[in-house]
Amino acid sequence: MSSVLEIDRLVKRFGAFTSVDELSLHVNEGEVFGLLGSNGAGKTTTIRILCGLLEPTSGRARVLGIDVAKEPERLKHAIGYMTQRFSLYDDLTVIQNLRFFGGVYGLKGARLREREAWAVQIAGLEGKQDLLTRSLPGGWKQRLALACAILHQPKVVFLDEPTGGVDPISRRRFWTLIDELAGSGVTLIVTTHYLDEAERCDRIALMHASRLVAYGTVHELKDVFAGRVMLEVACARVLDGQALLEREPGVFEATVFGTRLHVVVADEQQGRRQVTDALTRAGLAPVAVERIVPSLEDVFIHCIEAEEARRRAS
């Protein structure tokens, strides 16, 4: 598998603020690549650099072999980009939006008509061509925005938080569309903060406070707990319980998860006993302990906390 996107020690500073700090990663052809992180983690900045809209401060990024800083104009012919807000013209109809973007991409004649028909079909807007875009529900708008962004059949497509503010059913439909595109050989880079969406990506990169803190397939990432066991613990006063368990030898991590604690230990039997005893002794009974499979959220919390600890240390 060849890589269509390579980022090497990419840095972007806005004045004193570093938005992207020494980011290095690559994306393979036909992959659905998830770029995750909270707001302000540097996802959108990264995407905008990769689309040639922002100049990097240092480092290099190549998309389909094109240096994004040096040849942004050549790059634009080869990529598609769907911005955070579905950037359609609300006051134009579905078909007018498609014709407009087609015209802007330089499509004409039979090719334009063929792509229009294709776009209407994938967006599920047959028979709705003459509706004003304003009147469409969010899910339809989102699929139309995607169709507009890929009318010119780019090999690489960037989707910046494509599912923001869309209902769960539309979100699922949208992901089916993403999978279909990937199946036809298109490489997609998707930013999101939904973890269920991250699970659908072939590989993911997690950014936290401008840095890459986790990177790989979902399976690989879950390996951070390799050889260890995660227990879900219910007890009275979870915050006191967490403080107590963090100091307990043999407990690697204790994190609050809603009304419960997720505790990482080396061995299931020994861990259960230790946790139950410590909490009961401290008067935090009743205690219930259950072994669970770590979720992606556990992985991310682990990675982010490890990164914060590293920063505090340095």
Binding site: L53, L92, K108
Partner: protein, 374 residues
């Protein structure tokens, strides 16, 4: 630049404009409404001034002089003042703005060849009107004198009569609307052209569609031309509407060549539209673009262009400022073409400044809009 892509943008702009009756109404309707408002409101002409007359002489001569005032249509006799009436009463209660007093023995003095006195009492509260009225009255009395002298000369001394015939060129009746129409065209076009382009670009910024367009292979020049052309066309339509309205409502006809006027207007509009682009590059929201656009286009076009206040009467520093106001040059050219029937070739200096303005502003706007974020 690909004409197909420019056309795609222009077509989209027009479709959006046609769906937005408010904007279209503003661009096409507002100019005519403004012409109406300003045309009727800014009127320095004084007519039908209420006049009270106290004619104590009651002779043929005295009646002739009063008739002279009435026939001029500048004055309407509203009241006759009797001998004992308090004169202040008329001006204080604003029954009349002017009182004309003809003393007893007016005609007798004239018969004797002496100089008969006539008194004019004037309400000076509105200084502008008073000055104008005074001018009219003096001119009327002067004309009457001229006629008397002519009659006397013809009858007794056989001297050639003094043929006093003042003539005013270009705007023979010195009507202010005539003078104002070219200025209004300049001012209205400036306002609508700047606002329409500025708002159309900033709207795309606000909605995020500009970002979407910037990732397409669209060149900035294609985007700029595509966005400007429709508004150029709409502004030209507005110009036609203003000229038609000026013709119908105020009888202002274009004396020069329409082609000359068209060329001058297009160059002026390119400057104004470019300025709108510049405003859009400085504004993040439509509200801000609107404010910036209003202040920077409307105020100079009214106050610093010579539209209402003559530039020569301004302080030196302000005069220097007016060189940066394109409406100043357009005003000279459009007044020349519309009122005097002048040709464009007579205004090379002003046209040169308009071309210079358009190229400088367009260059800056282009640089600002195409600059990549760093």
């Amino acid at each position: 630049m690909s004409p197909r892509k420019v056309w795609a943008i222009a077509k989209k702009e027009l479709k959006q404009a046609s769906r937005d009756p408010l904007t279209l109404g503003m661009l096409l309707g507002l100019p005519t409404v403004m012409l109406l408002m300003y045309g009727y409101a800014i009127n320095f002409d004084v007519r039908h001034v209420p006049l009270a007359v106290r004619d104590l002489d009651k002779s043929r001569e005295s009646r002739e002089l009063v008739a002279e005032f009435v026939n001029s249509t500048y004055f309407d006799v509203v009241s006759d003042v009797a001998a004992g009436d308090d004169l202040d009463r008329f001006t204080e209660r604003r029954i009349a703005k002017v009182v004309l007093l003809l003393p007893e023995g007016f005609s007798r003095t004239l018969e004797r060849g002496g100089s008969a006195g006539v008194q004019l009492i004037l309400d000076g509260a509105d200084a502008n009107t008073a000055t104008t009225v005074l001018g009219y009255a003096s001119a009327l009395v002067g004309a009457a004198n001229v006629r008397r002298i002519q009659a006397r000369a013809a009858g007794r001394l056989d001297l050639a009569p003094i043929d006093y015939q003042p003539r005013v060129f270009y705007n023979p009746e010195l009507k202010t609307t005539q003078f104002l129409v070219p200025g209004l065209v300049g001012f209205i076009l400036m306002l609508t052209a700047v606002l329409s382009t500025a708002l159309s670009v900033v709207r795309e910024k606000e909605r995020g569609t500009l970002e979407q367009l910037r990732v397409t292979s669209l060149r900035p020049s294609e985007l700029i031309v595509g966005k400007t052309l429709p508004y150029l066309a709409i502004s030209l339509m507005a110009t036609v509407l203003i000229l038609v309205a000026a013709r119908v409502l105020f009888g202002v006809a274009v004396r020069g060549s329409y082609l000359d006027l068209f060329v001058a207007t297009v160059i002026y509009l390119i400057g104004a539209l470019s300025f709108g682009l510049l405003v859009s590059s400085l504004s993040e929201s439509q509200a801000m673009a609107f404010q910036v656009g209003m202040v920077t286009s409307m105020l100079p076009a009214i106050f610093l262009s010579g539209f209402i206040f003559p530039i020569r009467a301004m302080p030196q520093l302000v005069q220097a400022l007016t060189y940066a106001v394109p409406a100043r040059y357009f005003l000279v050219v459009s007044r020349g073409i519309i009122l005097k029937g002048g040709a464009l070739s007579e205004y090379t200096r002003d046209m040169g400044f308009l071309v210079l303005y358009a190229s400088v502003v367009l260059t800056i706007a282009y640089a600002r809009l195409t600059r990549r974020e760093v």
